[in-house]
């Protein structure tokens, strides 16, 4: 017997498919086409072949952006793969107040990156809390230029990203840890394995898949950084304009009265090529887990 009319599934999927087509598939195609044109916000433009791409390699800002992204990834991937796992282990047990800690550790995740960046900007101000406390403790004599120095600004943005990401990845680990068999821990404990040993030979193998997932997510997210650097660096990427990210360059190229949409699209294609590798690995791994 029929469980439904033939058109019912299409009726149900139609809105989602329409959105997918208009706001994902078409923009994806259109972006690649635009990347070969010199279209501006106000003017049609024409095809210019690979000019945008050759222009890109002479763009000193792009070189800065890629260097910054690499530094971001090099610091964030190890920190955000390991610290949230330790945090998840701390709050995983059913002890008093654990629900409270879990909820509060998730607060930075819920906060907008803009809000967080503004909070940190005030903390890291020349006359802000961090410099004030460090000076009082006698660690420094003059304020550290967290928000103006090319590298300190980048590392401030990285610290902010790690701070904001801890809770998010902690929750991913929590749901993975729920599946690690408790008996393994108990057996190991009976055999006299200490906490560190149990962590290495029971916990880590049990969540290895999630660790790979987290590492790749962190890497991809490092390439998508925008608001953190945009706000901390005062919209321009710091005083010398060197603290930019790829997404910032896309935004900069496209904004203004007559934005360079063609060039911004070429940068978008580059961003896609950089992120798609890890994401495909991730999708494949996800399917295998299912």
């Amino acid at each position: 017997m029929r469980s439904h009319r033939p058109y019912t599934p299409w009726l149900l999927t139609a809105p989602a498919l329409l959105w997918l087509a208009v706001f994902s598939l078409w923009p994806a195609l259109n972006t690649s086409v635009l990347s070969f044109t010199n279209v501006h916000t106000l003017s049609g433009g024409s095809f210019i072949g690979l000019r945008n791409y050759s222009l890109m390699w002479q763009d000193p800002h792009l070189r800065d952006a890629i260097l910054n992204t690499l530094v971001f990834m090099a610091v964030c991937v190890p920190l955000l793969t390991i610290l949230p796992l330790l945090l998840a282990l701390l709050v995983q047990r059913t002890l008093p107040f654990m629900g409270f800690f879990r909820t509060v550790f998730y607060f930075p995740v819920i906060a907008s990156a803009v809000v967080v960046a503004m909070i940190w900007q005030w903390l890291l101000d020349d006359r802000g809390l961090v410099n004030g406390l460090a000076r009082q403790a006698g660690l420094i004599h003059s304020a550290l230029p967290f928000l103006t120095d090319r590298w300190l600004l980048l590392f401030s943005a990285i610290a902010l990203t790690v701070w904001k990401g801890l809770g998010y990845y902690m929750v991913l680990y929590l749901s993975a840890l729920g599946n690690v068999r408790r008996e393994l821990h108990e057996a190991a404990a009976v055999d006299g394995a200490g906490a560190v040993r149990r962590f290495r030979s029971v916990t880590v193998p049990g969540v290895r898949g999630t660790m790979a997932l987290v590492a790749m997510l962190v890497a991809v997210n490092a390439m998508r950084v925008f608001a953190e650097l945009y706000v901390l660096g005062g919209r321009t990427g710091g005083i010398g304009g060197q603290d930019v990210s790829l997404v910032m360059l896309i935004q900069q190229a496209a904004s203004g009265a007559d934005g360079r949409l063609g060039y911004a699209s070429a940068l978008s294609v580059l961003l896609f090529l950089l992120t798609v590798g890890p994401l495909l690995l991730l999708a494949r791994w996800n399917r295998r887990e299912d």
Partner: protein, 288 residues
Amino acid sequence: MPREAGRRRSPVFDAVTPLGLTARYLTLLVVLAITVGPMLWELSTSLKSAAEDVYTATPRLLPAHPTTAAYDQVSRTVPIARFALNSLIVAVFCVGGNLAGATAAGYALARLEFRGRRLVLGLFLATLVLPGEVTVISQYQTVARLGFSDSLVGVALPSMIGALNVLLMRNAFLAIPVELEDAAVLDGANVWQRLRYLGLPSVKGTLSVIAILTFIGAWDDFLWPLLVLQSPDKLTLTVGLSYLHSVFSADPRTMAAGTMIALIPVLVLFTALQRFFFRGVGEGAVKG
């Protein structure tokens, strides 16, 4: 939850030593200070009076004379209530659209046989590898051509049905035993009745996770509204704040008050709903 602790306790592994417990809670308190410290400092700054030196060399967490003067100052400087309302409108549209659209599509993909189902599913999966930042430029062109640039509709529209949410809903519906569904079909229940009385009650966890995350995502979003909006009365909170920031960055108290107005509503919302969130996450609503 002491009740659960009692039930699950095993003598060997759960023999908690006082030393171990102390170390655990001390570590947790340190992490707590690091996570909420910056937010508390911002809150404290926003409540300090103009007479109190916020730059003082010996920082004081508690304001000497707490006042909401900075909050009045923000609303005199920019239409912050309007910004908040705009953010709320966008967030509500996104939540509504995603709950309806993702439920419908997710149910069809999980529970209805039809030709082309695998292809449709593949399309939704494929867009997951497409970061939103890659398509913003072209998306902006599309929204502008539809006549929605510089409007709240334009901000909300593209994220009203997310591919990830469709897949999450599909997963949730897949978890319902097929036998139940078959029995309902035999009883003559139509698709709508099966979705309404069999499907929806079983996927509340995933629905609440989608609602919470969509609301927060829309409220916090920055890059997209920054591209779409220009008129000062249409800005959402995040864009409005960055504007406030670039024009009036002089007074830290005012800035702090502005950030608190953007931060507190989502924190309250999340705290009120965290039970559903963590339960939904436990059911596997968040996976990759």
